[in-house]
């Protein structure tokens, strides 16, 4: 199976999963209330995040054929994403300013004059399209990393908090060891050791970020372990596994959601720094910004590349940060009481 088919499949799974979660949330009125509260407090942020998610999905659905590939023979055999089909992929030869008719340095006429909203990059690629495509990479970084980090944190944190004693000692030792190493250095070391790919970057980010949530999960589990309903369940003959799965885990879910949203922006920002160090993920905004370091020093400066990536990154982070606040307020019983 080819990668674009896998990608389509993942989109399908995500859509089904999303629908399932939506149904589950709407039936469960604690969650429903939270969603409503978030929507009421920050409709803008929710909408912006939705737009990013939509872009990411559009860029993940691809199929072959039905496009004019010009001189590019290989492209006829490659899948083109829905996003690329929608926004076209008009190629130029090199830099051109936003909406320009001529090349930026060479002043030769463009093939598609006036059609590049954010201009073109060094190889003549459309920056607007690249900016839109960055959404997928950012969500991939945030999503994939959380997908690795959060289960990892739960896997270690819950038993440590629930069973205590030796297990707790071991987990706590692992956590303090990992937490003692500077995040960036650990990230770099892992990527240098494991090679360079999106998965490795996400894995490295996950390894460096799970500890924080693990600590929270452990503490919360310790608290939940002493809750009366856990005692009651024990008297009701529930096994340890049942108690963890039925009584502990669901009561950690709000923390999972809060952590997910709060972690997200940090992950995307870290990737930008990694990109500067040469270990970024292909097609990310971080990479575009890192590239722009040289472009800005050109004279006259090429600013639209960093501008596009900056706006894309900034918009997502701003929305996610606001959303994070709202989600925390809606779900965290502590802040809920105060507000």
């Amino acid at each position: 199976m080819e990668s674009w088919m896998v990608s389509n499949l993942v989109v399908a799974v995500l859509l089904v999963g999303g629908a399932w979660i939506a149904v589950a949330v709407s039936r469960h009125d604690i969650w429903r209330a939270a969603v409503q509260q978030v929507w009421k407090r920050r409709p803008g942020a929710v909408l912006v995040v939705c737009v990013y998610v939509l872009l990411a999905l559009l860029d993940s659905v691809a199929w072959r054929g039905n496009v004019d590939t010009g001189s590019d023979v290989v492209a006829q055999h490659e899948a083109v994403t829905l996003l690329e089909r929608l926004f076209g992929d008009a190629q130029e030869k090199s830099y051109s300013a936003p909406l320009a008719d001529i090349e930026f340095y060479d002043h030769s006429p463009l093939k598609h004059p006036g059609s590049h909203l954010f201009g073109t990059d060094i190889l003549g690629g459309d920056v607007f399209l690249m900016t839109l495509k960055g959404a997928r990479v950012a969500l991939l970084i945030g999503g994939l990393t959380s997908l690795i980090a959060i289960p990892l944190a739960l896997l270690f944190g819950i038993p440590a908090g629930y069973f205590g004693k030796r297990i707790d000692d071991v987990v706590f030792f692992i956590m303090s060891t990992l937490a003692s190493i500077p995040t960036l250095l650990l990230l770099i070391s892992i990527t240098v050791a494991l090679g360079r790919s999106t998965l490795v970057v996400c894995f490295a980010l996950a390894v460096t970020s799970w500890v924080g949530f693990c600590r929270i999960a452990r503490g919360e589990t310790m608290k939940l372990r002493e809750m009366d309903y856990v005692h009651a369940a024990r008297l009701m003959g529930a096994s340890e596994t049942t108690i963890i799965l039925r009584h502990i885990l669901p009561n950690l879910m709000h923390l999972v959601v809060i952590t997910f949203v709060l972690m997200f922006s940090g992950l995307v920002l870290s990737e930008a720094v990694l990109a500067w160090l040469g270990i970024g993920v292909n097609g990310s905004w971080g990479l575009m910004i890192a590239k722009a370091k040289d472009e800005l020093s050109r004279d006259p400066a090429v600013w639209w590349n960093v501008g596009g990536a900056g706006v894309g990154l900034f918009g997502l982070l701003l929305a996610v940060n606001f959303l994070g606040d709202a989600v925390r307020d809606a779900l965290d019983p502590r802040t809920r009481k105060e507000s």
């Binding site: 009125d29 309903y229 009651a232 096994s239 039925r246």
Partner: protein, 340 residues
């Protein structure tokens, strides 16, 4: 009812607790060595007969809740004997314990924390039936949940709701329904009504006595509220600093308390201050630490009738006619002398 071999022999009490001790270690030093213990429960004896209500009374911090949880092994006690339906719960391995304590259930104090907020009422109540295999299938269990809800004077259609949609009293009823779902013979009621309003308290207490009548339940009623005890219990054990200091039938206890501590407790009800309802006793001084209990009689630091002997010698439970007291005064048979 299941469990045939574990049936209580005739004449034998349903629950017999002897010398129950629950100590929590105090750790200190570089290597976290245990340097001492908090003696939360330090030699408690309780007997509960089938269908009977026994109250365990004491100030907060005296170890009564720990005692209640220890005898069901929700907290592991250090030593002692807990004979329940003919078996010593403390000696059972984990697997057998699960079945053995099915018929001993608990209703908890805090209606907020005793129900899992993420589960529907139906699932909360049916959990025990699921794990003990009571009822043939899901439908039958749901039906039983409906019955139980009605039994505790809630509506059957409440079962699809979540705990946070109920008031405190309603939640406590759900807690009772849950306890009943596995057909217990003993209910440990751990401050089961203390968190409720007075009017609702009465309703729940009524419900409890009704249930006792219908189902022949035995209650171990743990509370700090003597007024509740008078209403419900047949026998009363008074605890102070991890020990039972007096045990008597409710009637006798209220009429003629033997131990100075009990006397103090009784003089405190009814209180005018709604926040201090119950046992806030006007004794001198603070409650001593149970990590380092006073020598001799544990109550001597606060006892209005303290004697020199109390400071050195530890009094034992003294058998009086059908009651016991842990005080040298009772030894001399001079009860009530020094009241005036």
């Amino acid at each position: 009812m299941s469990g045939d071999s574990s049936q209580t022999a005739p004449g034998e009490p349903l629950l017999r607790v002897e010398g129950l001790r629950t100590w929590f270690p105090i750790k200190s030093g570089v290597f976290q060595r245990t340097v001492g213990h908090v003696r939360a429960v330090d030699g408690v004896d309780i007997t509960v007969h089938a269908g009977e209500t026994v109250a365990l009374v004491g100030e907060s911090g005296c170890g009564k809740t720990t005692a209640g949880r220890s005898l069901l092994r929700l907290i592991e006690p250090r030593e002692g004997v807990v004979f329940f339906e003919g078996r010593d719960l403390l000696k059972l391995p984990k697997k057998e314990l699960r079945d053995a304590r099915r018929t001993a259930q608990m209703v908890f104090q805090d209606p907020m924390s005793s129900l899992n907020p993420r589960l529907r009422v139906r699932d909360i109540i049916a959990e025990g039936m699921d794990s003990f295999g009571i009822g043939r299938d899901k439908a039958e269990r749901t039906e039983r949940v409906a019955e139980l809800l009605e039994r505790v004077q809630l509506k059957a259609d409440h079962m699809s709701r979540y705990p946070h949609e109920f008031s405190g009293g309603q939640r406590q009823r759900i807690g009772i329904a849950r306890a009943l779902s596995v057909e217990p013979r003993l209910l440990v009621l751990d401050e089961a009504v203390s968190a409720l309003d007075v009017s609702i308290q009465a309703q729940v207490l009524n419900l409890l006595s009704e249930l006792q009548r219908d189902l022949a339940l035995a209650y171990l009623f743990i509370t700090h509220d003597l007024s509740v005890v008078r209403y419900l219990a047949k026998r009363v054990c008074v605890m102070y600093l991890g020990q039972v200091v007096e045990e008597a039938s409710a009637e006798e206890l209220f009429r003629d308390p033997q131990h100075p501590y009990t006397r103090g407790l009784l003089s405190a009800i009814p209180s005018i201050d709604p926040d201090r309802r119950g046992l806030d006793v006007s004794f001198e001084g603070d409650v001593p630490s149970s990590a380092n209990p006073p020598s001799g009689c544990r109550f001597h630091t606060r006892c209005p009738q303290v004697m020199d002997r109390c400071r050195v010698e530890e009094p034992q439970l003294i058998q009086l006619s059908g009651r016991q007291s842990r005080c040298f005064l009772s030894e001399e048979g001079s009860c009530g002398v020094s009241l005036g």
